[in-house]
């Protein structure tokens, strides 16, 4: 299976790997997947008082496509407000990374992680 240049670049030089303090009110955390399924993705956003995502971090246990999908997602999240971030669709990730059909679930996981992180932030902040 040949992967696209973009996917390989995100895999080899993943962007925004790391951990944000999940106890902070400004941080929303999404943890999706399960070790038994071979994918666990944790995606975190740090939201400014103006409601803009000023930082995003991820850690992923999974295949190359899962790592690249989460790396790309963090890139896209930065600078967006929460409503804009909610519109990120898994098929956008599929297209950008040219994911093969058997890897589409990796992009679904990334979309779910984004939605869960936003939800977590909103719940924490009574929105």
């Amino acid at each position: 299976m040949a992967y696209s240049e973009k996917l390989l670049d995100h895999f080899k030089n993943p962007k925004n790997v790391g951990t944000l303090d999940k106890s902070k009110k400004s941080v929303g955390t999404g943890l999706v997947g399960a070790p038994e399924c071979g994918d666990v993705m944790r995606l975190q956003i740090k939201v400014s008082e103006e409601g803009v995502i000023e930082d995003a971090k991820f850690k992923t246990f999974g295949c190359g496509s899962a790592i690249a999908s989460s790396s790309l997602a963090t890139e896209w999240l930065k600078g967006k407000n929460l409503d804009e971030a909610s519109t990120i669709d898994n098929m956008d990730i599929v297209e950008e990374l040219a994911l093969p059909p058997v890897k589409i679930h990796c992009s679904v996981l990334a979309e779910d992680a984004i939605k869960m992180a936003i939800k977590d932030y909103r719940e924490k902040n009574g929105q």
Partner: protein, 406 residues
């Protein structure tokens, strides 16, 4: 081999030994005969070459030439043995016993047998990957026509207690078939002395060409017969029709001859290299698990789980340099991790984290040294990226986490 790429996937297929290639070359153009052509010298010459190769192959496993049926490979030989015995002995019974860890060629053939009205018992294995001999004995009934147990497992290299299995089958009077694809040519295999009545194996796992394999069928005490699964010219004593792959068979013969001379030395060298690889990972990394028995196993194989790292992702960190395979679901289209590792009682998480290293005759020590660094660095890189490694390091009980399963 190409581009300095390290080939540690010899259980998938082995490179064809250059000595085998040299032996095969005259059989493409100079000697074009069909071994079944009885009317001219081309045919006689081809037949003679096939007979010679049959002798070389038979010699490797200490059987008679007439007991070797050439096939297109081990998958065909497995199918011929299982379906062929099922059909031939239908009057005696319809029950077959096998293992859950068999190769798909055996499991799928058994599945077909069930569809044809047969009854198949799938025995589980223990944590080491070994059959429970008592359970095997208890599973045999008066309807049992065949026990099918692989000699050595393709994923783990675990070797079954064939001698004991042979004794049970002899005592109970049932035929024993073994898929010995991964064992023949690498360790001593003597079906007659072991009580194995039928045995499948192939050239391309022992430094021969792809596209040629064999089924050993015992001829005396007992005289075993299988119903042909392909209709045609009645080649191979009526058990396998089809023009013989003369070139491939010549190569198979040469590969068998070399294996007989060199397998002991190969095994001695490879076990040292394999152990070096394993020990280096165990010393340099935490949470490393070797899967399957470490005593009853092939000398050139190790199957290792690097916990909290997903296998395919890990492979991507070094697959420009090393070729291996993984029990991770991501390497197959099924999304299920290796059924063999699951059968050993590994959790899905460890199965997803497994890598199989299978060394071979052409493996060099410097490749082992390079691989140790590349793989260890890959594991460290992937663990830095892994949220579950982070949780494990923080002391989080991963079993207590509410995972959002897909």
């Amino acid at each position: 081999m190409e581009n300095n790429l390290i080939y540690f996937d010899n259980n998938a297929t082995t490179p064809c030994d250059p000595r085998v290639v040299d032996t095969m070359l005259p059989w493409f153009y100079q000697n074009p005969g069909n071994a079944a052509s009885r009317s001219h010298a081309f045919g006689w010459k081809a037949e003679e070459a096939v007979d010679y190769a049959r002798g070389q192959v038979a010699d490797l496993i200490s059987v008679e030439s007439k007991e070797i049926i050439f096939t297109s490979g081990a998958t065909e030989a497995n199918n011929l043995a299982i379906k062929g015995v099922f059909e031939m002995y239908a009057r005696k019974g319809n029950h077959i016993i096998t293992l859950t860890t068999e190769h798909k060629a055996v499991l799928d053939a058994c599945d077909k047998v069930e569809k044809l009205g047969g009854d198949v018992t799938y025995l589980s294995v223990d944590r080491e990957g070994l059959v429970d001999l008592k359970a095997l004995e208890d599973a045999i009934t008066d309807k049992t026509v065949l026990v099918s147990i692989m000699w050595a497992n393709n994923e783990t290299g675990v070797i079954q207690p064939m001698k004991e299995i042979g004794e049970i089958c002899s005592r109970k009077g049932v035929l024993l078939f073994s898929d010995a694809t991964q064992a023949v040519g690498k360790i001593p295999v003597d079906p007659k002395a072991t009580g194995v009545h039928l045995m499948a194996f192939t050239a391309h796992k022992m430094y021969g060409p792809k596209g040629v394999g064999a089924l050993f069928v015992n001829r005396k005490k007992p005289r075993v017969k299988v119903v042909a699964q392909m209709d045609g010219g009645g080649h191979e004593r009526g058990m396998r029709s089809g023009t013989l792959n003369v070139t491939g068979i010549v190569g198979f013969g040469k590969a068998a001859e070399i294996a007989k001379q060199e397998m002991e030395a190969d095994a001695k060298r490879l076990v040292v290299l394999r152990d070096k690889l394993e020990q280096a990972f165990e010393e340099r990394l935490e949470e490393v698990y070797v899967n399957g028995s470490r005593t009853s196993r092939m000398p050139h194989v190790t199957n290792i789980s690097f916990k909290h790292v997903e296998g395919e992702g890990l492979m991507m960190t070094f697959n420009e340099n090393i070729a291996v395979s993984s029990g991770s679901a991501c390497t197959s289209s099924s999304l299920e991790p290796s059924y063999v590792l699951i059968a050993l009682g590994l959790g899905d998480d460890l199965a997803h984290s497994s890598i199989r290293f299978s060394l071979g005759r052409f493996t060099k020590e410097e490749e082992i040294d390079r691989a140790i660094d590349l793989v260890a660095n890959g594991v460290t890189h992937m663990r830095d990226l892994s949220p579950i490694w982070e949780m494990y390091k923080e002391g989080v009980d991963l079993d207590s986490v509410q995972w959002q399963e897909h």
